[in-house]
Structure formats: structure tokens, C-alpha cells
């Protein structure tokens, strides 16, 4: 009774072929989509082929990708953040307005903006936890609050719809070098945001796939009750994910501030959907528990290529959004198809 008789090996579950394993990865659909978009614009837009424009395309992609990485991790953790778009503006405004209003060193304003951004993220996570409401509703609320606060506070402090110029305040040049500089590799001009984007993608991917915390993210999104039952600190995990979005919003907000020297208070509305779409194109399930950081970055790259490709091809840029919608649906269908095929093997 005590000794376990050996049961014959269960031959119903067999090892998947290498091809099926690769095709089963969440980012495959996005990769196929990216290749298709690249080939399309390569064919129709001569400017797309010039090496000098690679930097521009990558820059456009990076401003989406920085946020898409954090948003993808959050979605894998099972939550949305609809305030992600305006949170970028809030962060830029916080740094610009505090620096200008108190005449403090720019870096101090940058630090305050970081704290505010992390606090917004933590607040979202905390509110989600205490109310038990879906994150869609909670962050929809934050979205409107931030949108209103952005406009109102800017009008009170700066007296208009944009923050005042801060390029004559101490620390501006060094901050600009950190957040909004660029360098050249041969004919290609690389903006520093591209570097941050790549670093975030690598760190985010390692975090998700190779750390304990990544396991917690996957389980919190896959089945929060199950995760909690075996001892995963689900609440802390989710709050940290929201704070991660806050951090990335800060990074992008700082870039926008130091790139343009001021921030428009009405900016950022609608961008939250672009980040979510990038994550979904990259293979993240809307229901959580499954997805890829690399995929989200590829999704951002598709955006960058499309945005500029349409211009380079000489098409009316009005078509951009329509094109995006089609891309989104196609990518989701491809993801679904590839996943089914791979799982069936």
C-alpha cells in the first residue's frame, strides 16, 4: 500500500515539436504583423527604405514602446490602466510647473514628478484593492480626474493651456541630456528614448520570465484567487504593476518636457488605448495571465512604422487611425489562429 506501483507513462501528452513551441509563443503574431507592415511600406514608400529614416521610425515607436512595456506587464497581471495616457502629461506638467513656480532646480522637479507618478500608480492599485471594482472603472475615474487636474492646475499656475518654458532654470541642460538627447550611429540618429525602450523591454521581459515576481504577475492575472491561496501577495504585485506604469509615464513625460521645453495640458488623451493596442497586438490576452513584453514592443514598432510609413508613402495621414483599427483586429485574429494551431499540435 505504501509503495507506489509505477503507472505506465501517459502517452497522451507528447512533447511538442520545436516549430510548434516557437509558434506557440505569444509574440509570434506580432512579429508576423511587423514583417508584413515593413514589407508593405518597403514596397510602396521609397523614403521608408532610406537608412536615415530608421532613427525616426524607432523614435516614434519608442515613445509608444516605453509605455507599452509597462502596460503589457499590467495586462498580463490582469488589469488595465486607462489613465496611462494622461498620466504621462501629468508627470511632465508636475515637473514643469513645480520647477517654474518654486524656481527650484529642474532635477528637484523631476524627482517630485517621479514621486507623483509612482503615487498615482500606487493609488490606482490601492483603490482597486479596497473597492474591488474592475480596474477598467477605477482607472477610468483616474483618467478623468487627471485630465481635469492637468487643465485646471496648469491654468491656475501658468495661466494658460501649457506650462511655461523652463529652459533657463538650473539643471535643464543636464536633464535634457538625460531625457531628450540623441546620438548617431553612421547615418542613423538614435534618440535616447530608443535606448530606454530597449532597456525597458529587456528588463521587463527578464522580470516576467526569469524572476519570482514574473511568476507572481502571471499567476495574479491568470487566476488571482488561486495565486492568493498558494501564498502569492497578489495585492502587492498589482500595486507594483500600477507603479511600474507610473514609472514609465514619468520617463516618457520627462522626455516630452525636455524635448519641447514645455507641456500642453490637454495632451495624452487617447494614448492609453494605443498602449493597450500595442500590448494586445503583442499577444497579451485582455483577460490577463498571458502575454509578452517583447511582443508589446513589437506592437509599438508596428505603430511607429505605420505612423511614418503612411506619411512616407504619400497617403493622407487621416487614414492612420483606420489603418490601426484594421491592424488591431488582424493582429488579434492572427494571434488567436497561431495560438490555436500551436496548442493543437
Amino acid at each position: 500500500m505504501a509503495t507506489l506501483t509505477t503507472t505506465p507513462a501517459d502517452d497522451r501528452v507528447v512533447t511538442r515539436s520545436a516549430a510548434a513551441s516557437i509558434l506557440g509563443r505569444p509574440e509570434v503574431g506580432a512579429l508576423i504583423g511587423a514583417l508584413a507592415v515593413a514589407v508593405l511600406f518597403f514596397a510602396v514608400a521609397p523614403a521608408f527604405r532610406s537608412a536615415g529614416n530608421i532613427g525616426t521610425i524607432l523614435y516614434g515607436s519608442s515613445t509608444i514602446g516605453i509605455m507599452a512595456v509597462a502596460v503589457a506587464l499590467l495586462m498580463i497581471g490582469g488589469e488595465f490602466d486607462l489613465s496611462a495616457g494622461v498620466a504621462v502629461t501629468t508627470s511632465g506638467l508636475t515637473a514643469a510647473l513645480t520647477t517654474w513656480y518654486f524656481s527650484i532646480n529642474v532635477w528637484l522637479g523631476v524627482l517630485i514628478a517621479l514621486l507623483v507618478s509612482l503615487a498615482i500608480g500606487a493609488f490606482n492599485g490601492w483603490l482597486l484593492h479596497v473597492t474591488g471594482l474592475p480596474s477598467f472603472l477605477v482607472t477610468l475615474g483616474t483618467f478623468f480626474v487627471l485630465q481635469g487636474v492637468n487643465l485646471a492646475v496648469t491654468r491656475i499656475v501658468a495661466g494658460g493651456v501649457s506650462s511655461n518654458s523652463i529652459n533657463d532654470i538650473d539643471g535643464f541642460d543636464s536633464a535634457q541630456a538625460v531625457f531628450a538627447s540623441s546620438f548617431s550611429i553612421g547615418p542613423v540618429t538614435i534618440n535616447i528614448t530608443v535606448v530606454y525602450w530597449v532597456i525597458l523591454t529587456i528588463v521587463g521581459s527578464l522580470l516576467l520570465l526569469r524572476t519570482r515576481y514574473g511568476n507572481w504577475i502571471l499567476s495574479a492575472g491568470g487566476d488571482a484567487a488561486a495565486a492568493r491561496a498558494v501564498g502569492v501577495p497578489v495585492t502587492v504585485t498589482k500595486i507594483a504593476l500600477f507603479m511600474g506604469v507610473g514609472f514609465c509615464a514619468w520617463l516618457l513625460g520627462m522626455h516630452q518636457l525636455f524635448n519641447y521645453n514645455n507641456v500642453q495640458s490637454g495632451q495624452g488623451v487617447g494614448n492609453e488605448f494605443i498602449y493597450i493596442i500595442a500590448a494586445v497586438i503583442g499577444g497579451c490576452l485582455l483577460t490577463g495571465g498571458y502575454g509578452s513584453v517583447v511582443g508589446a514592443s513589437i506592437g509599438a514598432l508596428i505603430f511607429g512604422m505605420t505612423q511614418l510609413g503612411i506619411t512616407y508613402a504619400g497617403w493622407n495621414p487621416d487614414w492612420f487611425k483606420a489603418f490601426l483599427g484594421i491592424m488591431l483586429i488582424l493582429a488579434t485574429l492572427v494571434n488567436l489562429y497561431v495560438k490555436r494551431k500551436a496548442d493543437a499540435r
Binding site: 507513462a9 501517459d10 512533447t15 511538442r16 519570482r212 502571471l218 501564498g231
Partner: protein, 308 residues
């Protein structure tokens, strides 16, 4: 075997100090008393079976022991010390592992990730994937389940395989006490056998096993001690020496109530075979709870209603 309330029996056959002791433990949610006056003693190297029908309070009991809920009455002692768990993590940390009815597995996650969830082996800041996959494979092989591709999502496995992953995980990490919540309920005969063998194995390894089930046959095969819950109270608490399978089955099935039911149902002639014929829509009348069936299934309530 009389019905016993709030009295501990069967502690004469001691194999050692109890590792977990529940003394008069109760739990109420607002004005609902889900559990009252429960006394359970779990010793290492013993299987304690907790039986009960749906809604008897088994789940509440597990949630208290595994740290998901706090208790509101009585005391719970672990190693002789009064313990209150703030979270499942705290319960796990001192060596209480739980396999839930819903298995607590994330369906989209790989088998090895689920196995080590919240107990990840790390190499510096990073996961030691190789070691984890190896251990996971070995532990599952011990359960008689071979999954060649541990990167498969758990959702792709059969029910029995999932159960084995959950149990193997709990036993691998549960150093002292392992709680199994209806591990055989959703399984076929063969898979149930594997699970029962594993329970015995865990017992022989010196773990205290709490086996929650509503199947007295499964319980009697492996149990040292039996506790039956009913409506949040302990109605039977006995050592194996003190009862037979028939008694256990009888108690579990409701004992006295079953007798009453069988008396009531005698009038309906269970062996009868009616001639087949077409039945029109609505032609079968609903059982009349106020009359019919020689006093009715609901006879008790009916009588009390008359009395009031």
C-alpha cells in the same frame, strides 16, 4: 456510535504530540455561524479524515487552517502554541500546505511555474529554471504522471493530472501538515487510487494529513481518525478502532435521517417498473410536500409547522 457534540474521543491511541489542535473553534460571518465548537487533533504520521455533506462547514474549516480566514471563537494551536494566521503565506511558512478543491492552479501558466508558484527556487535574482523543471518532473513522476513538456500550460492537462500536480506540489512544500480538499471528488476510480496511495505515502513520510472528503469509502481506506461535520458542528469524532466502514457510511449518509427517509420512501415501491406510455406535457404532477409520500419527504418540518 452515538452522536457526540463538543467532546473529544479517540485520543487514547496517541502516536505523539499533536501538531495541530483545534479547540472549540468557530467562525461566524456576520450573523451566520458557519462553524461552531469544532475540536480536531492532527498528529504527524496520521491521516485525519474530515467528512461532511455540502454546506457542512468543511470549506470554512480548511480556510481557517490554511490561513485564508481567521477564526472567531476558540483556539487553534500549532505545535502547542496558539496560532492565528494573517495570510495563507504565513500558514505555509510554518508548514501547512493546502490542496484546494479548485486546485489553485493558474490555467495559462506552465506546469513547472505552477508547481513552484510562491516557492520559486532562485539563483541570485533570477529563477533557477533548470532545477525547478527537474524537481517538478521528478515529483510528478513519483505520482505516476509523466508530462514530457513541463512548459505546457496546466489548462491543457486532464483533471487527474492537474490534481496530481497540485498534490505533488503541496506535499513537496508542506513540511508538516497537508490539507487535501476533496482530492478524489472529480477523479475516476484509477486516478482516485493513485491519490489515495499518495496520501498513505505522505502519512508514512511523517506528515500530518487532513483529508477532506464526502466519500466514506475513500476515507476509510486511508484514515486513522474520522470527524464528521454537519451544519457547522462536529457530529462524530472517532478513531478507526471505534467504528466500522458501515457505521461510518451510515453516519455520513445521515444515519438516523437515512432511516427516516427509507421509511418514508418505502411506500413508493422502489423496485416497481411502470409500463411505458406517452406522457403529455405537464402530465406528471409535482410531489405534494403537504401530503403524498406517506407523510412526505418534508414530514418533519410539516409536523413542526402544525405544532406551532
Amino acid at each position: 456510535m452515538s452522536t457526540i457534540d463538543n467532546t473529544r474521543v479517540g485520543t487514547s491511541n496517541e502516536t505523539g504530540e499533536p501538531v495541530l489542535e483545534l479547540d472549540d473553534v468557530g467562525k461566524s460571518y456576520g450573523n451566520v455561524n458557519a462553524l461552531r465548537g469544532v475540536n480536531i487533533t492532527v498528529r504527524q504520521g496520521e491521516v485525519t479524515c474530515v467528512l461532511g455533506d455540502n454546506g457542512a462547514g468543511k470549506s470554512t474549516l480548511i480556510k481557517i487552517i490554511s490561513g485564508l480566514h481567521d477564526y472567531t471563537e476558540g483556539t487553534m494551536k500549532f505545535n502547542g502554541e496558539v496560532t492565528r494566521f494573517s495570510s495563507p503565506r504565513a500558514a505555509q511558512a510554518i508548514g501547512i500546505a493546502t490542496v484546494y478543491q479548485d486546485l489553485a492552479l493558474a490555467p495559462l501558466m506552465a506546469v513547472w511555474r505552477n508547481f513552484f508558484l510562491a516557492n520559486e527556487i532562485r539563483n541570485g535574482p533570477f529563477l533557477d529554471v533548470g532545477t525547478m523543471k527537474r524537481i517538478c518532473g521528478e515529483e510528478l513522476t513519483k505520482m505516476g504522471i509523466v508530462i514530457p513538456d513541463l512548459d505546457r500550460p496546466v489548462g491543457g492537462l486532464s483533471g487527474g493530472q492537474r490534481q496530481c500536480v497540485a498534490i505533488a506540489r503541496a506535499i513537496y512544500f508542506g513540511a508538516r501538515v497537508v490539507i487535501l480538499d476533496e482530492p478524489t471528488a472529480a477523479l475516476g476510480v484509477k486516478q482516485s487510487g493513485v491519490v489515495l496511495k499518495y496520501i498513505v505515502k505522505a502519512r508514512d513520510a511523517g506528515l500530518g494529513v487532513i483529508f477532506i472528503t464526502h466519500n466514506p469509502h475513500h476515507a476509510y481506506l486511508v484514515g486513522n481518525h474520522f470527524v464528521i461535520l454537519k451544519l457547522g458542528r462536529v457530529v462524530l469524532d472517532a478513531h478507526r478502532d471505534e467504528l466500522t466502514l458501515e457505521q461510518l457510511t451510515g453516519e455520513m449518509a445521515g444515519g438516523q435521517e437515512l432511516d427516516e427517509l427509507s421509511h418514508e420512501l418505502r411506500g413508493v415501491d422502489p423496485g416497481r417498473v411502470a409500463a411505458p406510455h406517452a406522457v403529455g406535457h405537464g402530465a406528471v404532477a409535482a410531489p405534494d410536500l403537504d401530503g403524498g409520500l406517506d407523510g412526505g419527504l418534508d414530514g418533519g418540518r410539516h409536523a413542526s409547522a402544525d405544532g406551532s
